[in-house]
Symmetry: C2
Subunit: 205 residues, 2 copies
């Protein structure tokens, strides 16, 4: 087993899916949580000037999605066959579109018009992303409730993670998307993930 060091800020943000992947696989890693004031000194030493960074036996891997896919592949959570792997990645792309709209809203200028525009965009991206994911899940012939195929994959983990903030704000937000809702409950109920979540440091996002 390689030695994993995962470096990100002290929050969920663009890093949390990696931590949940480690938890789901039961694989230990160093969870290096950077304070904002430590970042300027580290930034020029990173491959792309951004976080997260995963070090695998000292070798850096940058770009959040590359890191997630690397872990999913390593832990056998990337889908069972070629077409399933593509379906997993498709769901991930649509969820990331929603997550990106959320980050855009967070960093939008604070004036009323910019906030209103970002909020509308977030709402419409939420609907689009959920509809697309629900459609892909509906095409899944398995009746086990996982997003793709008969086993949990990274798609299910991101389904859980991408909507954490939205569901914390409004528990009914996913009621129109029953497959997504049921799948999130399945992920959350897995002993390893339940255990991780119960001990996780609480952060606002």
């Amino acid at each position: 087993m390689p030695k994993y060091v995962f470096t990100y800020f002290d929050g969920r943000g663009r890093g949390e899916p990696a931590r949940i992947l480690f938890a789901a696989a039961g694989v230990p890693f160093e969870d290096r949580r950077l304070q904002q004031e430590e970042w300027p000194a580290l930034k020029p030493k990173t491959p792309g000037g951004s976080l997260p960074i995963l070090e695998v036996d000292g070798q850096p891997v940058s770009q959040s999605l590359v890191i997630f896919r690397h872990l999913a592949r390593t832990f056998g959570l990337d889908g069972e066959n070629l077409l399933d792997k593509a379906k997993v990645e498709e769901i991930v792309e649509y969820l990331i579109e929603f997550k990106n709209a959320g980050f855009k809203m967070m960093f939008a200028p604070k004036d009323e018009e910019s906030q209103k525009k970002a909020k509308e965009e977030l709402g419409s991206t939420f609907d689009k992303s959920c509809t697309r994911v629900e459609n892909i899940m509906s095409a899944n012939k398995s009746t086990d409730g996982w997003a793709v195929g008969k086993k949990m994959t990274f798609a299910d983990i991101l389904l859980f993670e991408a909507f954490e903030t939205a569901v914390a704000r409004d528990a009914a937000v996913l009621d129109k998307f029953p497959k997504i809702k049921a799948c999130r409950a399945k992920v959350q109920a897995l002993p390893k993930i339940k255990n991780y979540l119960s001990k996780r440091k609480e952060t606002p996002f």
Copy 2:
């Protein structure tokens, strides 16, 4: 071999890397090039309201990068081991950042200020993307000139494709990045790719 139908507009844009992947692997596919006026009728029937779409024995796969990675994986062009696969994907992400800045420039409003801003962003993204890719290539211990490992991968194909328009406009644009330049020449000289390029329909982008 599955039956592949690849649908995109009649240009390179966000579709061409898939066509080059098919050419590199010597795998036949239907190259369905849509005219703009055909798009409104097809759009609601696509999984994500966007092109390209790849059909694999009738099963649709959406999202350009998902399609490229699916083909790379299927054709064995995704890297030889777990860490190489991650490096290939990292290079791809940095190249896509540059491609995205190019699309942003293309669709920027035509007023002087917007054009100037988009052009500056494209220039700085070009420098950043190339520097990052050149750095990852420098860490590759192989001396064969491929971006990752000892074999051609999708990273090399995208290295070739992502800079086609830039190099056509200014042949010296990559002179500061000798590894990228040399790798592009290697890709271009491969008989299957040379043959594909010689027959390819010329489009402005």
